[in-house]
Amino acid sequence: MSEIRSSKRPWRSAIPIVLGMLGCAGAAAIADGELRPWLASGLTPLLAMICFGVGVLLARRPPLAAPGTPAVALSRATDVALVAISTPRPLSGASSHSIGETVPTPSAESSKADRVRSELDGYPIFTQILNRQIRSVTDLSEATAASILSNLGDVDAKFTALLEFIRQAGSSERVSGVIAQIDALMVDSRNQLAHLAERQLEDAQIGIQQRSKIGEDTRRVLEVLEGVNGIARQTTMLSLNVSIEAARAGAAGKGFSVIATEIRKLASEAQTLSTDVHARVETLMRTVTVDLTERADQREHEEFEAINSISRTLGSLTDDLATIVSHQRDVLQKVENESEAAARPIMDIMGSIQFQDIVRQQLEQVERMASMVNDHLVSMSATLADPSVDLSEESLVNKLEEMFGSYVMADQRENHRKAVGGQAERETGSLIEMF
């Protein structure tokens, strides 16, 4: 019966394949660059354990004999037992051993089966460690991805805040507002200066008019003085005529002669006084018309020059401010361009964190596979412990094929095909498909 059961146990030959697949899955993930160095370093012990397990199996397992190959070539007792498991034998009770072959005794087979069962009992520990290591890597990668995203978010927030501050501090609108305010003040100042200039011109014209009026009044005064002079001359002539008539009158005209003399003196004094006033008025008129005009013209010229100078200064200042605003706009444009340029890599880094979810799913798949192998080995061990139990367990190869259907990623399917020696199939279907 043991031979019959043994002939139905191809599972053993699949163990190295399974463990090889586990190693392949991890190695392929690393080779594909989906794992970062820190994650790869965490996975390395895991792969080492897998390789160790494969090594143990390979060390204990001889090359599989082809069906019908005599077991005599295997010298070690344990090897005989393993070959008994892996080599198909006839169902009849007739011995297939030829003379000279080493035929294991029932007790020896039982002892070997115990040893094999003992070895199989160790695999749950191995798969437990494997699962825990995978879970640890998954948790670590998830925590690290969350930390990277969090830190990235902080960096992005600070960067955005800094850019916003720069925008607020030197925004075109704000600077333009200040410049517009300054410009308005300058325009107002220029208007005031222009108004001042107009007022000055008006004042100058009023001054000219006043000087003209003074000249006119002065001429009238001089004319009056001419009149006074004329009266004085006529009075003198009159007093001479009175003196002549007084001389004709003789002694009776002596009194008139004295009066005429006095009148002539008064007329002479009036004429002298009029001439003096005339001279003073003429001097005053020259002072008014010449000196004041010259001074007014000079002051007007100086004020006009001063206003023009201020106006030119204000215009130059406006040009400088416009240059500053233009420069400020260039700086802001540069900041905004750099901001947009920096946003792209930040976004790409955020997007690249998706790798963690992919790695998690791949590791969870490996974890499920390890659990399945574990359950299978436990079942095998139980069967070895109780030879009376008929082995109805599905073969590991079949279970692995069933597991193929549970893969969700093309890479998983590809790795599986490669591990079992199948042909690589490039799966169709674009990464982005809009319906």
Binding site: M347, G351, E433
Partner: protein, 123 residues
């Protein structure tokens, strides 16, 4: 502006995609499961777009899309499946359930933003 509703059982994916969309100036709401997403819709959330994972504990993404297509506030919203799975059968089932598109992880951030802006003009 209505947010984009992200549904995924992976906190990392939610944070990653949400970060990408926010960086592009697009508001998001996140749910860790299809059930949580339905609960948010029941409580009044009206997303302009739904991006859901396919494989999630409990209800999967395509079932969620089918249910959201029967809710008045989300009946006409574009719905994308974002998953590591690329199987054609599942794509067809998603299309039949009313999905607008199928994206395989990892999706390029710029492409994602471009698709979202094409599906929801004005974002």
């Amino acid at each position: 502006m209505k947010p984009v509703l992200l549904v995924d059982d992976s906190p990392t994916m939610l944070a990653s995609i949400s970060g990408v969309l926010k960086k592009a100036g697009i508001g998001t709401a996140t749910a860790g499961s299809a059930e949580a997403a339905l609960d948010m819709i029941d409580r009044g959330l009206t997303p302009c777009l739904v991006i859901t994972d396919y494989h999630m504990p409990g209800m999967h993404g395509v079932d969620l899309i089918g249910k959201l297509r029967r809710v008045a506030t989300t009946r006409l919203a574009p719905m994308l499946v974002l998953t590591t799975d690329g199987e054609q059968d599942k794509r067809r089932s998603a299309k039949a359930a009313g999905a607008t598109g199928w994206l395989v992880k990892p999706v390029d951030p710029s492409s994602l933003v471009q698709i979202v802006k094409q599906l929801v003009p004005g974002l």
